[in-house]
Amino acid sequence: MMEGVSGEAASLAGHLALSNLCWIYDNNKITIEGHTDWAFSEDVASRFIAYGWNVTRVGDANDLSMLERAFKTFKRVQDRPTLIIVDSHIAYGAPNKQDTEAAHGEPLGEEEIRLTKRNYGWPEDAQFLIPDGVREHLRTGIGARGRSLREAWMARFGNYKDKYPELADHLYRMQHRQLLEGWDKGLPIFPADPKGLAGRDASARVLNILAQNVPWLIGGSADLAPSTKTRLTFDEAGDLTAESPAGRNMHFGVREHAMGAILNGLSLSKVRPYGSGFLIFSDYMRPAIRLSALMELPVIYIFTHDSIGVGEDGPTHQPVEHLASLRAIPGLVTLRPADANEVAEAWRYIMRQRHEPVALILSRQPLPTLDRTKYAAASGLDRGAYVLADAADGEPEIILMASGSEVSLCVQAHERLAAERVKARVVSVPSWELFERQDPEYRDRVLPPAITARIAVEQASTLGWHRFVGTAGEIIAMHTFGASAPLKQLQSKFGFTPEHVVEVATKLLRRSPPTHGGRRVKSKGLTD
């Protein structure tokens, strides 16, 4: 009740009039530091009434008839969620520990347990005792009721299946996290285009096609859909409101943390949810992202405005450490595609996942669509990193690696180096996690251990790139926060230009020990 996310979620639940939602507030007036008087005096009931909730109270947690009345009230109220405030006594029945913080996080102790059991009229020395009649009583209550409700529903569903076999099949597949045949039909192949399009725009096109193929792909944004471009724009998509719960465009409001939590809840119900925001705001939903990973839920997080590419909005809106911090979450796959075709491949990868969350990192600014007749196919994305452009003889002396917007920068540098007869390889690295899952042979083929002259380029924190460039490599990345200026000026200021990449490459080759038996020295003409 004190933690902010509960306020975000309660506010939205009230707004959407979620009448199937009931929260029970255990009002025992004890927190870990002691009585709640230390830090909490607000009127919770008034707060929830203001959120538009039905609020009811049970003055004694042991009063079963009062509890029953409260739950009946909840079931009766059809136009708003319900909060039941239950006054309870922590460690009820423990003669020395009831109503104290000592009963929160440690065992009661053998003597206190004995005294408590005596209070309950329980055999004092019995442990893990389940008296006769307990299981049977529950079987006649929840057991019998649950079975008859399920059987009635299954019978109804059987009729539904006869009448609507296709929809019943959809429901089955959704519940088992299986895709429909033809889920990827109509996905675009983007033609080469030096001007290209922004990651967010490519994603918008792909998402809108996928959502028409997969009816349970739903989601929205924390008030940023016009910027993140995640709105479903086809006619029948609709908007989710209290009056139209089937709408597929959700509006979470400016509530990132609640959005993440709700996405987890949606995924637990087996729909396929996505939520979008600016990468800078991933911090606000980080606890929820972590839980997606811990629960192995295939939640799709879409983060746009992924770097200093944000430009004039300045350092407050320019993520730096966020990529590194997302990559630090075990089980979360981060994907930062380099161009529109990698965006399409990223979505293909995402849709096939059943038990893993993904953070899709997209640019605000246009990225050139690479000519895939000249460079390797974008389907290499599946392997996390792949050789995009190479030395003509396949024996490079330096490797340039990058993700997202910096890949085309490396391609430009590669071409300039080629003109200087430097043999460079460009490796597109959309996902560290996927690359690390590949077998060692593949990894060594992409990043041959013998080639130690390596440069990583990314408009984000340097943290972690050393494992790919090694001790002899260089990292062109962000060492500070960004600045407020037009994008081009920022790219120059922070060194994200082909000239700078070429310069760093040249210096690196001068200082690196010769690889491949000294072939580099003779082939290059890089004499001082």
Binding site: H89, A103, I113, F128, G141, N264, E296
Partner: protein, 143 residues
């Protein structure tokens, strides 16, 4: 104190004492809230929850979310006492119990089915992970 007698009270005190005993045996854990909230959880499950222990993944079930995850023994007690069946990762129902009394005796132990806070996918019948401060899911609730 509470000597109302009757089967309801017997069930509630079973939940309470299982929670106290499991925490004591583990030498760590949170007994107090489980003891306090046992009547509330019992009433929800026994009288209201639309949930079939024989088929804990029936799609139209109510979702019971224990956001006070530290009181996990409440949930493990209910899963055991109501005889909730295990489900495998392929969403197939298995005959065995999700939580046996032996599992409860191994509360908070390595590779047990009753970790300190409820963990989704570790214990069938746990609808979501809910160990974290302030964590709630709008998809959940009873109703």
């Amino acid at each position: 104190m509470s000597e109302q007698g009757g089967l309801d009270q017997l069930c509630i005190n079973t939940i309470r004492t299982l929670s106290m005993d499991a925490v004591q045996k583990a030498k760590s854990g949170h007994p107090g809230t489980a003891m306090a909230m046992a009547p509330v959880v019992y009433t929800i499950w026994q009288r209201f929850l639309r949930f079939d222990p024989e088929d804990p993944i029936w799609p139209n079930r109510d979702r019971f979310v224990l956001s006070i995850g530290h009181a996990s023994m409440l949930l493990y007690s209910m899963l055991h006492l109501t005889g909730v069946r295990a489900v495998n990762p392929q969403y197939e129902r298995l005959g065995e119990l999700s939580v046996t009394l032996d599992d409860i005796k191994k509360f908070r132990q390595l590779d047990g089915k009753c970790p300190g806070h409820p963990e989704y996918r570790w214990t069938s019948g746990v609808e979501t992970l809910c160990a974290v401060r302030g964590r709630v899911h709008d998809g959940g609730g009873v109703g």
